[in-house]
């Protein structure tokens, strides 16, 4: 048995030095069980992630269902030209990026604030219950957010309008005021994700070496100084890493939230349409596969470049946190 064990251990080195196809085959045979264990997952990603990739070719064609992906006439970059000239690509990019920036700035600020304050709370029950309630919005289906929006904002019976009429005001047609929706969407996003996002920062505060707090207390630091000089500096690495990765994902929108809040309400598109909602609408209600593929490809490539950049910067800062 011991012989078998040493043989197993030596074997990886062996495969890395000899590059004959024979040894690859031998390595496959030797690791067949582990490979078989990975096979279902590999098949899954081949079928649902890799196989659709050649379909991105649709972005360069005038696609129709009858001729299929590679039979449809090739039109070069015309689909992209159209999207740029109509101003749509710019609008979608602008909305997606600006919403994400607002989410990142306000979200991180609130998450850190909540994490610090949660740490000051001494009552165990208060902490547990308030934490549980704060995570709940992230736990439920995003469809419920549409229900909540309807409950709060609809013209005839909405809670907000009920409050306004009770105090003698005139009800507002919120669903037709495009300017109000960036605020509404940001509030819903914060409602949904602040509790959840604060978990990471709270865990980071929990991880701070206790002796730092003791030293600060002995030096007579006030509560504010404790936050300023102990907690915030300790959160800095976590914050920077999370910030960089969220900047890397700045082209990706929170589709479920936007769609369930705004849906097909064309009156609001100017201020609420993001890449995901636009692509989804093009497919679901217009059967427009060329433009939706073009926008999707633009998003994928741009997003890919941004993640690579973010990861490269993270790697410079601290190699341990880099994704790859």
């Amino acid at each position: 048995m011991a012989a078998a064990l040493t043989q197993e251990r030596v074997q990886p080195r062996e495969t890395s030095t000899t590059k004959k196809p024979k040894s690859l085959l031998r390595s496959i045979v030797r690791n067949r069980v582990l490979l078989l264990m990975c096979l279902p997952a590999i098949l899954f990603f081949v079928v649902f992630s890799y196989a659709p990739m050649p379909g991105a070719w649709i972005a360069f064609t005038n696609f129709n269902y009858r001729d299929g992906i590679f039979g449809s006439p090739f039109v070069g970059l015309r689909n992209f030209e159209f999207l740029i000239q109509s101003g749509q690509l710019w609008l979608l990019t602008k909305n997606t990026v600006l919403y994400n920036l607002a989410f990142i700035v306000l979200g991180n600020f609130l998450q850190i604030a909540i994490a610090i304050m949660l740490n000051e709370v001494r009552s165990k029950y208060f902490k547990k219950i308030s934490q549980a309630v704060m995570f709940l919005p992230y736990f439920i289906s995003v469809v419920l957010i549409g229900v909540i929006a309807f409950n709060l904002l609809n013209y005839d019976t909405g809670y907000v309008n009920a409050l306004i009429t009770q105090t003698g005001g005139d009800p507002i047609k919120i669903y037709s005021i495009a300017g109000a929706w960036p605020i509404i969407i940001i509030l819903f996003q914060l409602w949904q994700s602040t509790g959840y996002g604060s978990i990471v920062y709270f865990a980071a505060i929990m991880g701070i070496d206790n002796s730092l707090f003791e030293a600060a207390a002995i030096d007579g630091a006030s509560a504010w100084q404790r936050i300023r000089y102990v907690i915030l500096p300790s959160l800095k690495p976590t914050f920077i890493i999370l910030l960089l990765f969220s900047l890397g994902g700045i082209m990706n929108g929170n589709f479920g939230l936007f769609w369930n809040l705004v849906g097909n309400n064309a009156a609001l598109f100017q201020t609420t349409d993001i890449i995901e909602t636009s692509v989804y609408r093009m497919i679901i209600s217009q059967n427009n596969f060329t433009s939706s593929t073009a926008v999707g490809l633009y998003q994928s490539l741009f997003g890919f470049a941004l993640v690579m950049l973010a990861n490269w910067i993270v790697r410079k800062i601290n190699e341990d946190y880099a994704l790859f």
Partner: protein, 318 residues
Amino acid sequence: MSHVVAAKPPRKAEPPRTVKPPRKVRLDRSDYVLRGISYLTVATFATFCALPFILIISASFSSESAIMRDGFGLLPREFTFAAYEYIFRAPRQIIGSYVVTIVMTVAGTAIGLFVIAMTGYALQRKDFPFRNSISFFIYFTTLFSAGLAPTFIWVSRYLELRGSYLAVFLQLLMTPWLIILMKNFVRSVPYEIVESGKIDGAGDFRIFLRLVLPMMKPALATIGLFLALGYWNEWYLSSLYLGSTVEFKPLQYHLYNIINTANALRNSVAGSNVSITELPSNTLKMASAVVATGPIVLAYPFVQRYFVSGITVGAVKG
């Protein structure tokens, strides 16, 4: 037996650490001010998080005429079960949706969990020469994707899954993130356990099934929770691939339709002889939301800790 002993250290390595200012040092005024502000802010924010749920529950127990007159409120207006009676008078639709969702959730979580655990284990084995290339193969799908339209065409036209529950069921089985999360969890299982299994002459799959899997209960609970949530909350793939082709829509997609289309609201109470104007549509929407969301909120307190552990472990290395 040696593996049981070896299993203990990683658990002991995470004692409950709470940050407290040392007791002997006198707290000054700023500490009390901060503490006061903290309690107030946290309580306010938690209330803000709970408020919409209270609004929906109250509305579902209100009478339609009171809602039409005064609008939704924080407390039920003219308390009544009328909306729920409507739903359960002809419960065919809602029961059908429940069955579809429960079957998908249970089967999907079980199968997905098994595949993810197997993959996560194999990819964490240090003596597995293909682990880096397979990890990258899986990870790459988060960096670059074909996009929605090509995927939609591929799944509906080439795989011919449009109108089939399989289109929803299969695509939710796993995500790269969950596999990475599982890998991170498996890392805490000492390699000596694998070795002890090998010395006993067990094969790789047997080591996984008999030795590693029983040690990964917290990981299985966490990842199972995320999978189950994915299935339970699913509406998006259903809207793309199922549309109105199936009689019983998954629960959340059913709710989505009730909120967004008048016809779905009428069909949901199976009363095609009922005219849409007679329906208590406002309270009915709210009651449907409660019925579709209720179970997951009730389960929430019991599974919350796994939810939290998943986020903290996952955040260490995305």
